[in-house]
Amino acid sequence: MDFSLTTEEREIRDWVRTFIRREVMPLEQEVLRRERAGQPGLTADERDELQLKAKAAGFWGLQTPESHGGMGLSAVMTALLMVEIGKTFVPFQFGGDADNILYHANEEQQQCYLLPTIAGERKSCFAITEPGAGSDAKAIRTSARKDGTDWIINGEKTFITGGNEADFAMVFAVTDPERGANGGVTCFLVDRDMGWKSEPIDTMGEWAPAALIFDNVRVPDSQILGEVGNGFQLAMQWIGRGRYLIPARALGSCERLLEMGIDYANTRETFGKPIADRQAIQWMIADSSVEIEALRWLVLHAAWLVDTDGGVASRHAQSIAKLYGATKANEIVDRVLQIHGGMGYTRELPIERWYRELRLARIYEGTDEIQRRTIANNLLRGKVKPTGSLG
């Protein structure tokens, strides 16, 4: 057993840490100003410019295979980088990655969708959730009806990340109502100009997902990703692609928040001394620190299992890390806000922004409740032992 990072891992992480500090964090004040004026924090051009700067240093396609021009990083390495990205609320992400299920595309589709997505020329979105089907994704009702060699898609998708910017969608639709999720759902690659529309959804965070409307959208047979009827498996594969990435990012946010809490506690004086002198404040700091360390190892453990196991043990560990990370990030941002008192509640500081953003971590990519269900089911069905993969 060895908890240390290799020199290479440290070097890659340190490069990203420096990049985030020098290139991304300086934008924070401007991002806050714009968001508060109702504008996007970062324009698409600014994001592209940052991505190209990183690309010039080789940071492009973190998880894209080297055969496709990416870095082919391990899950552990990717998690470490996601922690660094999570340290800022500037909506930045490295470019050059494509959805994992696009690698199932046939040769022609790869040319049209996979490669341009990796190149950053096209933007995808993953469209399964519907107004009536969230955690219960099997309940989707969007339908695709065969018409000659075409399919006619009708239905509504909601909370689609990137749906406002995407120029194509990976849409999951029922092609055989009898079979439902068990062989009756198919994934279609549907360009925006084939006729779907998107509508931004305002949220409490600074991030707007989209509602997608499919009103008799006609797509040819050649737009099917994979096989007719295997859409649900593809969807599960997409959702399971990197659940550890969410708590990894939340971990970075928690580290930054705790740093803010410590700095503030050491400088803010009440009754003649810094509030850091008070046990009540130290305990909030200590509790947060302990939970951050626990989270770090749950995330890295999950990522390590993705690299070395890839089976039920890794999915189990990812659910554990996701549930823990989402829960604790919300508790930690709340404590840091408390340490800052009234200042924490104002828009002078970014804490209230983190507060709103982190709330989503408990909901998307599997709610807390869905993670608990997965964890308990794995235990009760004997798929993993209570000793976990560690014992």
Binding site: M1, D2, F3, S4, L5, T6, E9, V76, I262, A265, N266, P274, A276, D277, R278, Q279, I281, Q282, W283, I285, A286, D287, S289, V290, E291, E293, A294, L295, W297, L298, L300, H301, W304, T308, A317, I320, L323, Y324, E369, Q371, R372, R373, I375, A376, N377, L379, L380, P386, T387, G388, L390, G391
Partner: protein, 382 residues
């Protein structure tokens, strides 16, 4: 990064697992009711090398690394916290300090006996008036020629009435931590008396005692370390001790989870196993998450020790987190078992009673938080 165990570590884990299943689990309820474990188990522990872990073989130890030690403590914690305490106090707090700080003579005299189970040790730091504030202890050691005369009281001493040797911390000089010196006092010395503390909430099989030293005379050769070094010896022992306690907590939390998973599948209500109710599943999931997190925090400490890194704050984090996780898990286990969890025919009420001491001894939860807070802010809020 590599979180896997070596074949050797797996073998030692299996050895401890089998031992606990064979010798401990069948007896715990009886020991708990009798408020006394079968003390013959000390010999058995020694025979398998558990009392000599991480101790060099030249002193009768069985070698091994700190992770192996944690793996064994987890298994003992799963079986019976009282048994885990015998090992972590005699070996962890005392034997290891003799190895680290002792003279060659002290090592040759005590270490082989302690590793073989011929002798057992206890750690005499806490006093009736000084728990968390151990640096202000009042037991005195006065020099008399080449000897020392020790007078004072020690409280809540694990292994107290069983031990053959006590590592006693006494004030030899001025006030505060710098005036404390450590002594290895044989418990059969004249003036040394011991009373077992009965009626504890948990840890009932464990002999927790009050020690009274009334003019106990020991030679200067019984002094462990330098004069005035006692408190730092105690703190060093407790830093590593926290890792062992935390590993035991992981075992206890795991035992609670294992018992709950099994029971939830067997127990039926409303025509189906209670495992099929989401509110029961939530309890199982939360126990599993915290147990895994605690184990990783513990293993990190073991890894840091092996790599020669500082580990004090990490040990405090592991101890704080794992002990609170053990209390929560055992409390949830009672909830899963319902009324049956409240009676001692089932194992889980003992888990809670035993777990409750884990957030108290070897540094309370509050002390751990102060240590962690101090390390993060640089400000001492004690």
């Amino acid at each position: 990064m590599d979180l896997s165990l070596t074949d050797e570590q797996r073998a030692v884990q299996q050895l401890a697992r089998d031992f606990v299943d064979r010798e401990v689990v069948p007896n715990v309820a009886e020991w708990d009711r009798a408020e006394q474990v079968d003390i013959g188990i000390v010999k058995q522990l020694a025979e398998l090398g558990f009392l000599g872990l991480t101790v060099p073989e030249e002193y009768g130890g069985s070698g091994g690394d700190h992770l192996s030690y944690c793996l064994i403590m987890e298994e003992f914690g799963r079986g019976d916290t009282a048994i885990r305490g015998i090992v972590s106090v005699s070996l962890g707090l005392v034997t290891k300090q003799i190895v680290k700080y002792g003279t060659e003579e002290q090592k040759r005299h005590w270490v082989p006996r302690l590793c073989s189970g011929e002798s057992l040790a206890c750690f005499g730091l806490t006093e009736p008036g000084t728990g968390s504030d151990a640096g202000n202890l009042t037991t005195r050691a006065e020099q008399d020629g080449d000897d020392w005369i020790i007078t004072g009281q020690k409280m809540f001493i694990t292994n107290g009435t069983w031990a053959d040797v006590a590592l006693i911390f006494a004030r030899t000089d001025g006030p505060g931590p710098k005036g404390v010196t450590a002594f290895l006092a044989p418990t059969d010395a004249e003036g040394f008396s011991r009373t077992e503390i009965k009626g504890k909430l948990g840890l009932r099989g464990q002999a927790t005692a009050e020690l009274t030293l009334d003019g106990v005379r020991v030679p200067d050769s019984a002094r462990l370390g330098e004069r005035g070094q006692g408190f730092s010896i105690a703190m060093f022992a407790l830093d590593k001790g926290r890792m062992a306690v935390a590993a035991g907590c992981v075992g206890l939390a795991r035992a609670a989870l294992e018992a709950s998973v099994k029971y939830a599948k067997e127990r039926e209500q409303f025509g189906k196993p209670i495992a099929s109710f989401q509110l029961v599943q939530e309890m199982l999931a939360d126990m599993a998450v915290e147990t895994d997190a605690a184990r990783l925090l513990v293993w990190r400490v073991a890894d840091y020790i092996e790599r020669g890194l500082t580990f004090k704050t990490e040990a405090s984090m592991a101890k704080l987190y794992a002990s609170e996780a053990a209390v929560k898990a055992s409390n949830l286990a009672i909830q899963v078992f319902g009324g049956y969890g409240y009676i001692d025919e089932y194992p889980v009420s003992k888990f809670l009673r035993d777990a409750r001491v884990l957030t108290l001894y070897e540094g309370t939860t509050q002390i751990q938080k102060l240590l962690i807070g101090r390390s993060l802010t640089g400000i001492n809020a004690f």
